[in-house]
């Protein structure tokens, strides 16, 4: 009796587990099967009418799921796909899938699964510059294109087909100084609060700013000649250290008119300092910030505005790039180009595509539109 009871319970347990497993997984599975049957029906119908529906399979693998910045890129993919499908010419399969944590090799299985599903193009924001190289090679050998999104993989460029860059980094330094200048009337002392001393992007921008300021009397007709770059400090992308460095700047330079923070952690910390001290109108903090983090400061008036990239547009661009690759003979060769909403974008010698020429401005006029 005991044994039979035990056996019954055991079967019940296994049964419920299988059932719960099934019901959990049924939803996506049913959807996809329905979709595929629908599309096959559609295609058979349409071929009879001799209008061709162009199919496309796109997979987007972010660094990890649940990251608002990458969700915003995903929104861009969905917008681009919705626009294209509204024309009736396209049938696009899209999936945003990825690991829970941003570790170097956790993305491998998602790439392989995408290749298995015959994705035409995989857009990926890799967690490592080189840990995925062999996986990329296998995927490309199987006919899937690999496009890095929101950055590049320096040193491993041979293993990807192209890279969609968030912005032309050559123009960031100038755009940031121009923004600072416009806020402080092109006059007065300003400092830079950067990330770590070896952060490659930040150093590139800070060096660019130093170059402009060293040549300020001649640069653009001396537009910035009354501005002075007094110091560059490093907050190591830690909120506490950034706060300390910001307070030290305020003590050291009592006449400081502004601080440029080309890092999202730095700008949030520095803005908080001027807000707490009630000097946000005397010392203007700007730089590169995340709309979601800066929203409160913009609403309270502590931040006049800041810049960043346009993640949804990167996704939208991805959709048009994938279409160009599959149907317009776009082969990633340097100089070849494709259109996004009527604007032509071309691929540079190093395989990079600039989604923005200059960083995008966020201030009280447009901040509500953004969720990342």
């Amino acid at each position: 009796m005991k044994k039979i009871l035990a056996m019954l319970l055991l079967t019940a347990m296994v049964g419920t587990m299988i059932l719960s497993g099934c019901s959990k997984k049924e939803t996506p599975a049913e959807e996809t099967t329905e979709e595929t049957t629908e599309t096959t029906e559609e295609t058979t119908e349409t071929t009879e009418e001799t209008t061709e529906v162009k199919t496309l399979n796109i997979v987007f693998i972010p660094k990890n799921l649940g990251n608002p910045y990458f969700e915003a890129i995903g929104d861009g993919f969905e917008k681009g796909i919705a626009d294209l499908e509204a024309t009736g010419e396209y049938d696009i399969t899209y999936e945003m899938t990825g690991p829970a944590t941003p570790e170097a090799t956790t993305q491998i299985e998602y790439i392989e699964a995408a290749v298995q599903k015959k994705a035409d193009v995989i857009f990926i924001a890799p967690n490592s510059n080189d840990a995925l190289n062999s996986t990329f090679d296998d995927a490309r050998a199987a006919g899937t294109k690999i496009v890095i999104i929101n950055g590049d993989i320096p040193g491993s460029e041979d293993h990807r087909d192209a890279a969609i860059m968030p912005c032309n980094f050559d123009n960031v330094a100038k755009a940031q100084i121009e923004l600072m200048g416009s806020y402080i009337g092109y006059k007065g002392q300003f400092a830079v609060l950067s990330a770590t001393t070896d952060a490659p992007d930040q150093n590139y921008w800070v060096d660019g700013m130093k170059e402009i300021m060293a040549d300020k009397d001649n640069y653009e007709g001396g537009k910035y000649k009354d501005m002075e770059l007094v110091d560059v400090v490093y907050g190591d992308d830690l909120p506490e250290k950034s706060t300390t460095e910001m307070e030290a700047l305020l003590t050291k330079y009592p006449d400081l008119a502004g601080v440029i923070c080309p890092t999202t952690v730095g700008i949030a910390a520095a803005t908080k300092v001027v807000e707490t001290k009630g000097i946000a109108d005397k010392v203007i903090v700007t730089g590169l910030g995340l709309p979601s983090e800066m929203k409160g400061y913009v609403e309270s008036g502590s931040s006049m505005g800041f810049q960043l990239w346009d993640p949804p547009f990167e996704g939208e661009m991805g959709v048009y790039l994938a279409v160009a690759v599959k149907y317009d003979g776009f082969d990633f060769s340097a100089g070849s180009s494709f259109d996004v909403n009527g604007t032509s974008y071309s691929i540079l010698d190093d395989g990079q595509i600039m989604s923005l020429d200059e960083p995008k401005l966020f201030d009280k006029n447009n901040l509500d539109e953004f969720t990342y």
Binding site: K3, T97, A104, K117
Partner: protein
């Protein structure tokens, strides 16, 4: 009551033995997972893809075989993935300091064994709880890797070392192949099956897990057996780490991070008792295949990462509850 008893006795002996075997649960689950997966996605009828994916799980699975013996002996080793990472990292560091790759591999294996010895000394000789020790060393070993290479990848190994998993044992279809690492895994599984279930060493492992004091009084040198288990674990983990490095073409400090739970799930689902004294190499083997199929199935079916974690967590609970359900009922009745 008496009627039922007669019924039970009427069952053929083979069937009764099957029902009470520890491999039943993982086997039933395996069948269920296969059915669900095959119905979910066409990819599951594609052996090429399955074999390729399997080669990615196989290194961790090798170390899981040894973990089965450790759990059977009433202990646990949560440092397995960290040992894999540490061994591979130090081998790679040696290679980049001019040591020939062959020697570097041997150094990696030795590092793995040293990690195992370190665990073993603290657990077997100092007598600390295995759970606490290996949670600590899990971070220590990975920390060592991080100290040596930081957030960098170390690769660029000689060609003969790269992609061992792609060395085909035999080919099928157009691009399908069974890699040599899968063969190594099967051979290791057979070896550890014989060691655990067919030798006196294996009987001693069971004895320690069932009742360590009794084992001591029966003349079993429990310290040396425990020590040897961790050394084997370290060695196999080191070997698995080097295979992983060959597959990835590089090593990073976060290699195999957060896979500790997977290894424990595989062992427990295979029918091993977390309290020791019970364990089955065949069960673990089946559970490994099952977890591999389930994880692949979830990814191919587009189940999001957080839901996958939910399923794996549920699986861990089920794997602990099911084998103990009989005991639980028994305890309830005795009250």
């Amino acid at each position: 009551m008496s009627k039922e008893k007669v019924k039970g006795q009427g069952m053929p002996l083979g069937l009764r033995k099957l029902i009470h075997s520890r491999e039943l649960v993982p086997f039933v689950l395996l069948i269920a997972v296969i059915i669900v997966c095959v119905s979910l996605s066409e990819s599951f009828r594609d052996m090429t893809y399955l074999m390729k994916t399997l080669s990615r799980y196989i290194e961790l699975a090798m170390a899981t075989l040894v973990l089965t013996m450790i759990v059977t002996a009433g202990m646990i080793d949560l440092s397995v993935p960290s040992v894999m990472c540490c061994s591979a990292t130090l081998a790679a560091v040696c290679f980049h300091h001019g040591v020939p790759m062959g020697v570097a591999i041997v150094i990696g294996l030795i590092v793995g064994m040293v990690c195992g010895i370190f665990n073993g000394i603290l657990i077997a000789h100092v007598g600390l709880p295995a759970m606490i020790v290996t949670i600590g060393t899990q971070n220590v070993f990975r920390g060592i890797a991080q100290i040596f290479i930081g957030d960098q990848s170390l690769g660029k190994f000689p060609d003969w070392f790269n992609s061992w998993e792609k060395i085909a044992l035999f080919r099928f279809g157009t691009t399908g192949y069974v890699g040599v690492t899968i063969l190594i895994f099967v051979l290791l599984a057979i070896f550890f099956y014989l060691l655990l279930h067919r030798t006196s060493y294996g009987r001693k492992v069971f004895a320690i897990g069932a009742n360590e004091r009794a084992a001591i009084y029966s003349g079993v040198n429990t310290k040396s057996i425990k020590m040897s288990l961790f050394v084997i674990s370290g060695f196999v983990s080191g070997f698995a780490g080097i295979l992983t490095m060959s597959r990835l073409l590089l090593v990073r400090y976060d290699m195999n991070q957060n896979t500790e739970v997977d290894t424990v799930v595989m062992v427990l689902l295979g029918g091993a008792d977390i309290n020791g004294g019970r364990g089955s190499m065949i069960g673990t083997f089946i559970a490994i295949i099952m977890v591999f199929l389930l994880k692949t199935g979830l990814i191919v079916a587009g189940v999001t990462a957080d839901q996958q974690m939910f399923v794996m967590g549920l699986l861990l609970l089920v794997s602990v509850i099911i084998p103990n359900i009989k005991t639980l009922i028994q305890a309830q009745k005795d009250k």
